[in-house]
C-alpha cells in the first residue's frame, strides 16, 4: 500500500507528517530546525527522499538544507558524510550564497526596483520563499527569492546562480513590493516543455520564459476588471498595466500545462493559453480574496481555493473556515465544510500552504496560521486536522510514496 508524507514549514521549524495510504493515522516528526522559519520544503519528483528545505531567520539569514533520506537527516548541501563522522566533525557546506547577477553578459546590470516612496531601491536578498525541484534531475532545483529573483542550482543545492534575464527584462525597475515583501513565490515547470517556466511575484505579476530562463515576458493581460467592483481594483491605478499585479498563487495540472489557475489579491482567474490572456472565474464565491489555489491530482478541471474575507481582514468570512471546490474549472463553486470549524475561526491560509496527493481518491491538505494542518482523503468532502497546535504554517507539500 502506498504511503503519504506531508512536509510542513512553520514559523518555528519543520514538521513531517506521515501515514499509510488510508490517511487516517498520522505520525508527526519534528520540529526540525527548531526555532527557524521554514518557508518551504519540497521533494524531487524523481527521488522523493531527496528533499530541499529553505531555513531562514531575520537574525541569521538564509540556509538551504537537504535531506537524502526522506527527512530523517538533514545537511547543508556541500557537506559530505565524512565531514560529520568524528566527534569534531562539522558541516562544511556553504549553501546560502544568493548573490544577484548584475553582469552585462547575462542580462542588464539591474540593481534597483521601485520603493514605497517611488524612488529606486537596491535589490536586497532576504530569503528563499519557494524551492522547485526540476522534473528531470534531482540535483537541479530552482529557488524563488525575496527581493524577487529566480535562482537555480545544478549541484544539489550547494551553489546557486541567478537566472538574471527575469530581473533584466524591461519591467524590472517598475516592480514594487507588496505587503509581504517583494517575493517570487510560485514556480511552475511545464512537464511537456522543459524550456518553459512560469513564475509569479508579489506585487509585480506573472512572467513566463520559453527559452529556459534566458528571456522573460510579463503574462498579465486580463488581470483587471472591466467594471471596477467597489474597492477591489483600487490597489492598482492603471488596471491594464503590464506589471504591478498582486498575484498570490498560480497552479496547473500536469496533463494540461497550458491551463493556469490563479488566486489574485482579489479575483480567481484562469488562462487557457499559458498565461497570454486571463479570464475571471470567481463566479459564485462569497469573496474572491485569498492566497492558495490548487488543482485536483486526477481531475484537471477541479480546483480548490480558501476564500478570505478581504485584504484588510485576513480571515474566513463570518468565522467559518471553508474550502471552495469547483468541478468546472471555476465559476461554479461549492463550499466544503465537513470537519472544518464553522464558528469563531479567524485563521489565515497562506499561499504555499495547500497541496494535493496523487492517491485515489485525491487527498487535499492545507495549513493555517493557527497551526492546524487539515487533511481530506476524499477530494475535500470530509476534513480532519492531522495536527492542530503547530506554529503558524507557512507551507504544505505532499508526497505520495510507493
Amino acid at each position: 500500500m502506498s504511503r503519504v508524507r506531508v512536509l510542513v514549514g512553520t514559523r518555528k521549524g519543520a514538521f513531517i507528517l506521515s501515514s499509510d495510504g488510508a490517511r487516517k493515522r498520522w505520525k508527526v516528526s519534528g520540529p526540525h530546525f527548531a526555532g527557524w522559519e521554514i518557508y518551504h520544503m519540497k521533494g524531487s519528483p524523481l527521488d522523493p527522499d531527496r528533499i530541499y528545505a529553505s531555513q531562514t531567520s531575520s537574525w541569521f539569514g538564509q540556509i538551504i538544507q537537504r535531506s537524502d533520506d526522506g527527512g530523517k537527516t538533514w545537511n547543508p548541501p556541500g557537506t559530505k558524510p565524512e565531514d560529520l563522522m568524528t566527534s569534531e566533525g562539522m558541516p562544511k557546506g556553504e549553501s546560502n550564497m544568493f548573490v544577484y547577477d548584475a553582469s552585462p553578459e547575462t542580462g542588464k546590470p539591474l540593481t534597483t526596483h521601485q520603493w514605497y516612496d517611488g524612488t529606486q531601491h537596491p535589490w536586497e536578498f532576504k530569503r528563499v520563499w519557494h524551492l522547485e525541484p526540476s522534473l528531470s534531475d534531482p540535483d537541479h532545483v530552482y529557488a524563488g527569492v525575496e527581493d524577487a529573483a529566480l535562482f537555480e542550482s545544478t549541484d544539489g543545492g550547494k551553489s546557486w546562480h541567478e537566472l538574471a534575464g527575469l530581473r533584466g527584462s524591461d519591467t524590472g525597475p517598475k516592480w514594487q513590493p507588496g505587503a509581504g515583501g517583494m517575493c517570487l513565490h510560485t514556480i511552475l515547470l511545464d512537464p511537456n516543455n522543459p524550456k518553459r517556466i512560469s513564475i509569479a511575484i508579489s506585487a509585480a505579476g506573472t512572467f513566463r520564459t520559453d527559452d529556459g530562463g534566458k528571456t522573460w515576458k510579463p503574462i498579465n493581460r486580463g488581470l483587471w476588471k472591466p467594471i471596477n467592483r467597489g474597492l477591489h481594483s483600487e490597489h492598482i491605478p492603471d488596471p491594464t498595466a503590464e506589471v504591478g499585479h498582486c498575484v498570490h498563487r498560480i497552479a496547473l495540472h500536469p496533463s494540461r500545462p497550458n491551463t493556469l489557475f490563479m488566486q489574485k489579491h482579489w479575483d480567481v482567474m484562469r488562462s487557457d493559453d499559458a498565461g497570454d490572456s486571463w479570464q475571471e472565474v470567481s463566479g459564485n464565491l462569497p469573496t474572491d480574496f485569498g492566497f492558495p489555489i490548487d488543482v485536483h491530482a486526477h481531475e484537471p478541471e477541479t480546483i480548490y481555493v480558501v476564500p478570505i474575507k478581504s485584504d484588510s481582514e485576513h480571515y474566513p468570512l463570518k468565522g467559518r473556515l471553508r474550502v471552495y471546490r469547483s468541478r468546472t474549472g471555476g465559476n461554479e463553486w461549492q463550499a466544503l465544510t465537513k470537519g472544518l470549524p464553522q464558528r469563531n475561526c479567524y485563521v489565515n491560509v497562506l499561499r504555499d500552504a495547500m497541496s494535493v496527493d496523487a492517491l485515489e481518491p485525491c487527498g487535499v491538505y492545507f495549513g493555517t496560521t493557527g497551526g492546524q494542518v487539515y487533511a481530506s482523503a476524499d477530494a475535500g468532502d470530509n476534513w480532519k486536522p492531522i495536527v492542530r497546535d503547530l506554529p503558524a504554517v507557512l507551507s504544505v507539500e505532499v508526497q505520495a510514496l510507493p
Binding site: 537574525w59 541569521f60 539569514g61 562539522m90 556553504e94 546560502n96 548573490v99
Partner: protein, 98 residues
C-alpha cells in the same frame, strides 16, 4: 586562544557545544575573529556578516567585556582581554521580534 560564544541557533547550525576556541593572528579585530570563525565553520558564512558587503547583519550584535562593540569599525583592535583569551567575544542575536 580566542574564545567566541555563538548564539544558540548558530551553535546548532555549526554543531558545536559551548564556546568555540580559535587561533587568531594579531591584530585581533572583529574582522580577524570572524574570518577565523568562518574559516573553521564555513556553514556560518552569511549568517553573521553579509556575504557580499561583509557588514554585520542588522539583528546580530557583538559584545565583549561588558561593552557593546557592534558599532566599532571591523578593523579596530578588540580589548586585550579578548586577545589574551581571558574574556570571550560574544555574538548575540538581538532582542527583537518573535
Amino acid at each position: 586562544m580566542i574564545r567566541v560564544i555563538l548564539p544558540p541557533h548558530l551553535r546548532t547550525l555549526a554543531r558545536v557545544d559551548g564556546e568555540v576556541e580559535l587561533e587568531v593572528k594579531s591584530p585581533v579585530t572583529q574582522r580577524s575573529v570572524l574570518d577565523a570563525v568562518e574559516a573553521n565553520h564555513p556553514m556560518l558564512r552569511g549568517t553573521i556578516r553579509d556575504h557580499v558587503t561583509q557588514l554585520r547583519r542588522p539583528m546580530v550584535r557583538f559584545f565583549a567585556c561588558g561593552e557593546d562593540l557592534s558599532h566599532e569599525l571591523p578593523d579596530a583592535p578588540l580589548p586585550d582581554a579578548i586577545a589574551s583569551g581571558s574574556e570571550p567575544f560574544l555574538i548575540i542575536g538581538a532582542i527583537a521580534g518573535g
